[in-house]
Subunit: 250 residues, 2 copies
C-alpha cells in the first residue's frame, strides 16, 4: 500500500430473507465489486442480513461509520416485508416520511400508465427525512441517499441502473491496474517463490487463484497496483518464475 | 416464529480479496444457503472480508459468539495470501501448528502422485492446535473445525465436497417447508392485502419477490413455516387474494 488513506473505501449491505434461504442467488455483490474496482474505490466488506430491523440497523451503523461509502440492495418495495427505509431511518435517527419528490414522481408515473396509486405503491416513497433521491429509470420508484449510505433496489436490473446513476457522484481514486498471468502449476509448486516476489514488490498486491479442472489444479496469478510500472515489474518477475518452473520440469 | 430458540442458526464468512475486487464471483454463499435450508438450520448472516488478519479475526469473533454454526470459505491454500488458518487460530487464542494428521494425509497424497511435498504444500496442514479435520476428497488438503467454526476451501468443488462431509455432523431442526405461488401482479397491487394475510398467519413467514421482465413486474410469493398445515392455510389465503385481484381486473 502506498497511501491507503487516500483511497476511498466502500461496503455493501445486501438485505433479504430470500438471499439467506437460498431462494434467490445474489447478483448485485459481484456487479458492485466490478464497478468499485473500475472507479478506484476499494470494496472492503460485504454483509448479507435478513429483513430484520435490528440486523439492518446494526449493520448500517457498523459499516457507515467505517467506510467512505455504503451501498445497500433490497427491501425497498411496497410490501410489509420491505423494511429497509424504516431501518435506515432508525439507524440515522430520522423519521421515515413520505418524500414529496418521490410522491410526485410516483404519482406521475402511475397516472401516465393509468394505474391506481395504491397505498402499497405509496410506501415506495417512504425514506428518511432529508434523504436525496436516486433515480430509477427502470420502474420509477427511487432509491435514496442519506449520509454516506446509498439505498438501492434488490432486483438486479434496477440495482444496476441506480448504481449507474450514483457512480458519477462518487469520488474515486485512480483505478487499480491489474495484470492476470495464467500459470499451469498449482500453488504447491510456486507458493514460496511467489511469497518472495510479493516481498520484493511491496507496493503491489499479488493474488493467487487456483482452479480445479479435469486436469487438476492450475492457477491464475493477478498482480494489482495503482501504477502501471509497478504492475509490470512484478508481473515480469511472476513470468520469470513460471519459466524457471517449466525448465525444472522439462 | 413459533419457538425461535429451538432452531439452530448459522453464519457464513467468505474470505478473499478476489471476491471484493470482482475478479471472482462467489458461488459458495448460495450453495450454503440452500444446504442450510434443507438441513433446517437458519442462515442469519453472511459476511465477505479481504485476506486481512484483523478483518477475519473480528468477523470470526462476532459470528462465532452469536450463531450456532459458522462456515468459512477461502484462504486455506498454500500461498502467502492464504492467512485464514493463522487468523482463525488468533481468533481462538491458539497457536497455528502443522497438524500431524493433516501432514500424514498430505505426505501420503503427494507420495502416491510422485510429487514433491514442498513447503508451500506443507502450509496446507497448518491449523489451530486442537482442530478436527474436514476431509477433502477432491484435492486432499483438509479443512478444519475449531469450536463452532468450520473452515473450508474457496474453490467451489472443494467447498461443496467439504460441506457434504460436515452436514451429517450438524444438528438441524425439522426443515422449513415452503410453497411458492406465481402472481401475475406487482407488489403495488397486492402489498396491503398481503400484509393482512401475514398478520392473520403469524406463524408463517410470507415473502414477496418481484421480478422485472419484458412485460413489467410480476412476482412470486413464498410462504414458509415449519409445519405443512400452516403453510397450506396461508398459501390458500394468498391464492384467494390473487383470484380476487383477477376478478377486479376482469
Amino acid at each position: 500500500m502506498t497511501d491507503a488513506t487516500a483511497i476511498p473505501t466502500a461496503a455493501m449491505l445486501a438485505i433479504g430473507d430470500e438471499l439467506l434461504s437460498g431462494r434467490t442467488k445474489d447478483r448485485n455483490i459481484g456487479h458492485l465489486a466490478d464497478q468499485m474496482t473500475l472507479a478506484g474505490i476499494e470494496l472492503k466488506e460485504v454483509r448479507i442480513v435478513a429483513d430484520d430491523q435490528d440486523a439492518i440497523v446494526e449493520a448500517v451503523d457498523a459499516l457507515s461509520g467505517r467506510y467512505t461509502y455504503v451501498f445497500t440492495s433490497g427491501g425497498i418495495g411496497g410490501t410489509h416485508d420491505d423494511i429497509t427505509a424504516d431501518a435506515v431511518s432508525a439507524a440515522f435517527g430520522r423519521p421515515c416520511i413520505y418524500n414529496d419528490e418521490a410522491m410526485a414522481i410516483l404519482t406521475a408515473h402511475y397516472q401516465r400508465r393509468g394505474v391506481e396509486f395504491t397505498s402499497s405503491r405509496q410506501r415506495m416513497a417512504r425514506m428518511p427525512e432529508g434523504a436525496a433521491l436516486i433515480e430509477n429509470p427502470v420502474s420509477a420508484a427511487p432509491g435514496f441517499i442519506i449520509g454516506n449510505v446509498h439505498v438501492m433496489a434488490g432486483v438486479p436490473q434496477v440495482f444496476e441502473a441506480m448504481l449507474a446513476n450514483v457512480l458519477p457522484t462518487l469520488k474515486g481514486a485512480a483505478p487499480v491496474i491489474s495484470e492476470a498471468i495464467d500459470c499451469p502449476y498449482g500453488e504447491g509448486d510456486y507458493g514460496a517463490l511467489l511469497a518472495d516476489i510479493q516481498k520484493a514488490h511491496p507496493q503491489t498486491s499479488i493474488g493467487s487463484y487456483p482452479r480445479f479442472g479435469a486436469d487438476g489444479f492450475h492457477s491464475q496469478i493477478v498482480v494489482r497496483a495503482r501504477d502501471r510500472s509497478l504492475v509490470e515489474a512484478a508481473a515480469s518477475a511472476v513470468r520469470e518464475m513460471i519459466v524457471t518452473l517449466e525448465r525444472k520440469r522439462g
